[in-house]
Symmetry: C2
Subunit: 711 residues, 2 copies
């Protein structure tokens, strides 16, 4: 199925003939602009303008209707009023056209009538098995010389390159085309998806996976058509196939924190934007905030090899910018390479005595190309250097162009990245051109170069990360399911702590020992079995906040105290909520003090069950220091979740403390993952707190709660 889709996109991007329905003679109109973009940018196939009101357009014979077009048509581009679109698709279907682009707007994006029209469009394309881009888009571009198709109404034909750009915003495409023209950025494919009535980012990613012309994929997204499928596909492209390709994505429409109603601890911590962060982290997509960053990174990925580590060497003719690059390197998690002795020797021979031979290597303000060349070659040869950033400020003696040339040459046949940072705009421009002709991307300021290097390091980390499997635990799935079913049948909204504990028990979570006692005798027996000290908690269907009504007593040390405590609880409830039915008390082992963590699960409308992990307590809630993952996760995913919180150092142990029992913690997260995908009907699970003890000491869940899905 997916295979066929990919094939059909092949014809969409490489059609032998195109009918432009609504082509126009007025160059400033959409129909005129699009047709002239096709005609005057060297399209290699046959163009058929279709317009009943014209005999020819820009010298090309025009056809009154699609049925009048003599030959077969691979692709139809529709620039007709929105209401005419469904009828036109009928004509396409009858003509046997299997690929279409609907440029026209006035569909889902305007609501009302438009939404209905879009449904009609979807029906038609399903009926005729048409693969469709749009509606409401700018069109698509394939720069491949064998096709050379600009089927957009943009102002510009981009140059050929190895970057594919996919955008959910058509208007952004026009800005990006203009920016790319200025920065001389080339594209392999340029795709405006519009409303995604048929083809969406997943289809396009599958196509680009096998596109030999594409080395880097850029996405501008406002939503995902199918989040779980996106994770699968993106994960494969970024790391699993031989010709893997980095994907850089902007996901806009970040919602303000807390805008979502909070029904629980877990709920209050999970905003949709955090989920997108998790999704991208999980499939190796590098998330980016701005268009500028997107292309800064894309230029590095498209032109330079990926560094095999985070050790960067900086060569500069200026101290200040060298410090700024160092600051940025620290900020973006890079290491400054410690140069080897032989490198330092080589530098000492080549540079004046006032030069700084340590990293950042300062070749001094009066440096000419010979010093740059010697310094660059020395650091590139050093095995402790993973890549370099070469900074140049245009000083009086600086032979900018010659320096650009030696950098270009030094980069040949070296498998380490070189990023240029010729600072300025005008005086350095010729040098920048020379650098870029040698495939070395240039950045105006050190920070951008460092950030780009760092993004490449992140990708290298992703590609080389440990590969682990999903872990399967033997659990009592059936029993857990029936417990949930029973609660659903009883029309409950949430489960009591006892019921929740029973279900967690089925999944092998470490629980405090606990028993339900219906009277004081049973409570004494239970406490005897569990061992003192114990806690008592009232069990009643009418009481939610047990603490507030005196329904909880902790740290009960012996049978006498237990008897007194039991009575105190019952008395307190009878006084405060006389009508409450008291089922009994929950006798629970007292938890030893450990580090409090919480684990959670929550259903997301787009991605299904999301796992949450963080420290317990008020600090974490206030600081929103939580890591997220879409379930299920692999063993390594559990590690990343633990390491992913800012307060991770607390788990690792501060000031000589022992680390917590990470093994049991990871196991609990993986059990939670299995729980989340195997059990249906659960909207949220809050495990809070779970006490984790020092290495080898295990963990104990103290409290937990399940909220069921609304009926």
């Amino acid at each position: 199925m997916k295979q066929t889709q990919t094939k059909s996109l092949q014809t969409l991007f490489c059609p032998k003939s195109i009918a432009v329905i609504g082509a126009s003679r007025r160059p400033e109109s959409v129909g005129g602009s699009l047709f002239s973009n096709l005609l005057f940018n060297g399209y290699k196939g046959i163009l058929y303008p279709v317009n009943p009101k014209a005999d020819s357009i820009f010298g090309v014979r025009c056809y009154p209707g699609l049925s009048d077009v003599p030959g077969p048509v691979d692709l139809a581009v529709l620039i007709v009023p929105n209401v005419v679109v469904p009828k036109t698709l009928d004509e396409c279907g009858r003509k046997g056209i299997r690929n279409a682009i609907i440029i026209s707007a006035g569909f889902k994006e305007v609501g009302g009538e438009g939404t209905l029209l879009e449904q009609a469009v979807k029906k038609k394309v399903r009926k005729y098995k048409i693969r469709l881009i749009g509606p409401n888009c700018l069109g698509i571009i394939n720069t491949d010389g064998a096709v050379s198709m600009n089927a957009t109404f943009g102002r510009t034909m981009p140059i050929e390159g190895n970057i594919a750009f996919i955008s959910q915003s058509g208007a952004l495409c026009t800005a990006v085309l203009d920016y790319a023209k200025g920065e001389k950025i080339g594209f392999s494919k340029f795709i405006s998806m519009g409303n995604k009535a048929d083809i969406n980012e997943n289809d396009l990613l599958l196509f680009l996976k096998d596109d030999p012309k594409t080395k880097v994929v850029l996405l501008y997204l406002e939503d995902l058509a199918d989040g779980r499928r996106f994770i699968e596909i993106a994960r494969e492209i970024t790391g699993e196939v031989e010709n893997r390709k980095p994907i850089l994505a902007i996901k806009s429409g970040r919602t303000p924190q807390g805008a979502r109603a909070a029904s629980s601890h877990t709920g209050s911590l999970m905003g949709s934007d955090e989920v997108y962060d998790a999704v991208f982290a999980q499939c190796g997509v590098l998330r980016v905030d701005t268009i500028e960053e997107l292309f800064d990174y894309a230029r590095a990925f498209s032109k330079q090899p990926i560094p095999r580590g985070r050790k960067v060497a900086i060569v500069t003719n200026a101290g200040g910018p060298g410090i700024m690059a160092t600051d940025a390197a620290i900020r973006y998690g890079l290491d400054l390479a410690v140069l080897s002795k032989s490198t330092t020797h080589a530098l000492r021979r080549a540079l004046p005595s006032t030069a700084n031979l340590a990293n950042p290597v300062d070749v001094i303000g009066d440096a000419r190309h010979d010093r740059y060349e010697a310094a660059l070659r020395a650091v590139l040869k050093d095995p402790s250097v993973d890549g370099t950033i070469v900074i140049l400020t245009p000083q009086a003696m600086t032979d900018i162009e010659e320096i650009a040339r030696v950098i270009g040459k030094a980069g040949k046949n070296v498998l380490k990245p070189i990023l240029g940072c010729f600072m300025g705009i005008v005086d350095v421009s010729k040098g920048v051109r020379i650098l870029e002709d040698h495939g070395i991307p240039n950045y105006k300021f050190p920070e951008a170069a460092v950030r780009s290097f760092s993004k490449m390091v992140s990708y290298d980390w992703w590609v080389g990360r440990p590969r682990t499997q999903f872990k399967h635990f033997t659990v009592q799935k059936k029993k857990a399911r029936s417990l949930i079913q029973r609660a659903i049948r009883a029309k409950k909204h949430y489960l009591s702590d006892i019921e929740t504990f029973q279900i967690l028990d089925c999944y092998g979570f470490p629980l405090l020992r606990h028993e339900l006692a219906h009277n004081v005798t049973e409570a004494l027996h239970a406490a005897h079995r569990i061992g003192y000290p114990v806690a008592l908690k009232v069990v009643s269907p009418h009481i939610i906040h047990k603490f507030d009504v005196g329904g909880v007593l902790l740290n009960i040390k012996d049978p006498n105290e237990l008897i007194r405590s039991y009575d105190r609880i019952i008395d307190s409830i009878r006084t405060k909520i006389p009508k409450a039915h008291i089922t009994g008390v929950h006798v629970q082992e007292m938890a030893k003090t450990g580090k409090e963590v919480f684990l959670g699960m929550k259903q997301d409308p787009h991605f299904g069950p999301i796992l949450l992990f963080g420290l317990g307590g008020i600090y974490v809630e206030a600081l929103r220091d939580v890591s997220f993952r879409v379930a299920p996760i692999r063993e390594f995913g559990a590690e990343r979740m633990m390491e992913g919180i800012r307060s991770y150092p607390i788990l690792r142990g501060l000031r000589g403390e022992k680390p917590v029992d990470f093994k049991i913690l990871a196991e609990c997260i993986l059990r939670l993952s299995q729980f989340s995908v195997e059990l249906e009907g659960i909207e949220e699970l809050d495990i809070n707190p779970m006490m984790v003890y020092a290495t080898g000491g295990g963990a104990k869940i103290c409290d937990a709660r399940i909220i069921l899905k609304p009926a």
Copy 2:
């Protein structure tokens, strides 16, 4: 004194005559480049090249020595070998020259011999009362048409503008000049400070404060010559004088966290970079990380009025970029203005039915200048709008230049800022030029525009912040001083908790009640006076970690338990540290549970006493969630310290909790401020924890420790 300095800088920047000692005929040499920059950029005074080897340079009569120069000389520029510099300064002195720029390098920055040479230079300028820029700098530029002086060896003369740029890196200056040329950014003064042997950023700020040509000051700093003086001067310029001016600063050389040795809790939390953050926050200097941001912001400040609030309206012809701007607005703490009904009505009349009338206002992709004009005028008129960002993507119908013109016109006589965001580079370039001719800065992408708007809002906040005074508490300063002196005389490194409590008591801090008891009888009396429950802590000069040796017992409920506890402590110490001398025990009131905070003070080598505030406990240490201020602080400063921690919501109360007693907390911070400036000899003070109770409940210091300055 300072007045005279300012005056003398006036001549430095507006000299009537300049001697260029070391001027050269070779245009590519520093002496040639600098002299030609003066000669060919319209300098309005008299130039005297001095060089024994030339009769004339570029047609100007050259003098063999300074003594041969016929007229008086206001400014000498030295481009001579470093070792000749002191002698040359003698000649300057004899000639009565009072201003000099030393371009030559080879001084402090190279160490060794160079450091000695720089000391010689300092002596000379003091002797002759010369105000000196440099050594080791690019020089200075004054674009004022009445002076038109380019006394640098840069490649470029910048255009006139209202931005002053001060840099501690000469090489960065060359890059900035080139960048500014490309971006058409104008400067009032352009200053490369070099090694700051005499004139430093403080002198320059004082000069620029009164410079009518300067509206915005940009700083690139690697260190501060006098931190406390910087705070005073900057605070005045940014907010206190009528012609206040924003200061934007890059401080590079951020040290990696934790690189500094940690002698205590307070010490481990304070890195030098955090201190700079505090310094800048305290004097209204807007800290910036990158050169690109520096000029993004500078362009907004230099050309547009400051918004009077954070409510931004966005007008766009493209949905996607509108969403990106909204995302950025949220990220940078702006509010999207809620448009009034009458604005919405006006928009409805002017825009097509598919337009989005809410903010961001989407005029739709086919919008021409009329729609932009109507939308922009409507939102600017709305009292709930503090300023606007106008986004344009170059679509097929977009009449870019005309739109730029109507935006420019709409901005006339409006006291709200308009920032442009014409996205792209090539197609939009003419429109961008038109915008900028109208004084509207343009940004290639929404994020940069939003960030700039947000920086202006920060400045507006600073200018309009509540002005408070230093608070003076009546304290027992004399007694506190004599306690410290006694400890210093006894050659102590740190003070015991009892001594620390005594000193804190002198300063009116809220302490737990406590008494020293030398035996069990005294302890019983003390406990009676204090009231049970109490804590006992052993007092011994030989024991630091009392807890570890059983020297602390808590929550003692009655006299019997006290007697038992007393014995247990004594026994435990006798067993574990038989040789320890036991002074007695400290009987202390038990603290009720509250929110734990810590207060600290630490001496900084550059800024003197620094105050620290944060929550207590391990979370805060792990997350380094602390606010800093240089002492002394005003009342509002205490509020900013409390609000400045990320975990502030915890103090305000989560989930319906009452807020803590902010009044007492603020008072304690202010007492700490007074303490820090009045008492000498203290290296560090740690108050940790202090319990703070709900509003009206006060606070209690549980533990505290003073480390004395090393002898």
